[in-house]
Symmetry: C2
Subunit: 256 residues, 2 copies
């Protein structure tokens, strides 16, 4: 699938020791990949880095230079291990300051709820100077945007609410559509003709994903993805014809 001026790309930087240690299974990558595609943005790279300032700075700077948008998840909050805002500020060469609107909002909220606006809670309003708030319907503490970098929470419920708020700020390109065709013809048999179909349809990406141990037996999902609906249709039809030529059945044919 070749890039064009309509191609809008993104990267995700997942920040957190708990993901690397395997204690927590990331739940944001797949959500973001799908959600971005719905607005015409293609997720092209993901990095998972530990809670170490230099690592976060290096990853954010590498990714923001290369992709239209960068999203970070994790490391915003009141505790000592929440160092994402200061790290992103450093990546941009900006000071980390208390965002005046966020500060006033949290100050009022804690006062109204009879809780102390502790130094730790004030930390949740620290952002790179000039950052724009990314509000959300779930948490009083906002995410933020600096240039093409969106900083979001790691907790999935909050991350999803922040992404909803970020969506209207994104300039989308063409949406990638998909067609998923299932069969029991094995990869070793279909690989040759499938490769020929890929060559005939360079504007579509064709992926082959075998699965094992399913209740109905083993099988393969052949997934065509393209921003060009006509190319997608034609490539999918060629795959259906290929499966029948090989004496197989088409188990599913699902467009997404």
């Amino acid at each position: 699938m070749s890039d064009s001026s309509d191609t809008v790309t993104a990267a995700l930087c997942i920040i957190g020791n708990e993901i690397l240690s395997g204690r927590v299974q990331d739940a944001n990558l797949a959500f973001l990949g799908q959600g971005l595609n719905e607005v015409g943005v293609q997720l092209r790279e993901v990095r998972v880095v530990p809670d170490i300032e230099d690592e976060i700075v290096a990853a954010v700077n590498a990714l923001r230079a290369r992709y239209t948008y960068v999203f970070t998840t994790g490391g915003i909050g009141p505790t000592h291990d929440d160092i994402t805002p200061e790290s992103v500020a450093k990546a941009f060469g900006r000071r980390a300051v208390h965002h005046p609107v966020a500060y006033a909002r949290l100050e009022e909220w804690y006062r109204n709820n009879d809780r102390e606006f502790t130094e730790a809670r004030k930390r949740m309003t620290l952002m790179p100077e000039g950052a724009e708030l990314v509000d959300n319907a779930v948490s009083i503490a906002p995410g933020f945007r600096v240039e093409n970098v969106f900083v979001m929470a790691g907790v999935p419920q909050i991350m999803r609410a922040m992404f909803e708020a970020a969506k209207p700020l994104l300039r989308g390109g063409k949406t990638v559509r998909s067609r998923t065709i299932g069969t029991r013809v094995v990869e070793g048999v279909l690989a040759g003709p499938l490769g020929e179909i890929q060559k005939r349809f360079p504007h579509s990406d064709i992926g082959s994903y075998p699965y094992y141990g399913a209740p109905g037996g083993n099988g393969v999902n052949l997934v065509v993805r393209s921003t060009d609906p006509a190319d997608l249709d034609a490539a999918g039809d060629a795959i259906v014809a290929m499966i029948r030529d090989l004496g197989g059945d088409v188990l599913d044919d699902v467009r997404g």
Copy 2:
């Protein structure tokens, strides 16, 4: 947690458009993070890259220069989108050749099973020249190792079997132990004293992970991780004392 000569590190490079599109949820990262730690290797970085040769080459070369070990998942198989072996060969400046042992084994297996040893199936024996096989109990097609890079399947059942075969080849350092202490004291209240405890125990990493919407209500897991058992114990005890000082209850205290 400071590094020492006993610190053995690893990175994971997940190769696959289906992970970036969100069609498939990765199931290998958390497994590998935990599995590596059991043999004294710390997973420090993960990158997810698309099925594009230049991207794979760049990621593998960046990671293998920096970490003791690199593991890749995905992109080994018979279809046109399985380009990991050739890409890893290119990263090492080696030719991709049919591994003679793997070739002979697959040739025999397909003959014994009355199936054709197709060109596509022969592709599964393509590896960088000089690669060492990483066998597995699940699939006839092996993974392989080149220097400090282990190339594994993306299908979780096969990846896990290959990792079991790779384990004896790893030189482990100190194992990171953990202690997870649960409480309902909120982060905004505990963050100050918790930060002080982190300063007192620089040989332990303390993470704070809030959760929301659980049946029993919201809460926070405080996770201490260290290669030093005495430091881990003392830091954990300090956290338990802190929770009680703040008038809270310790919900869990689990060592791992």
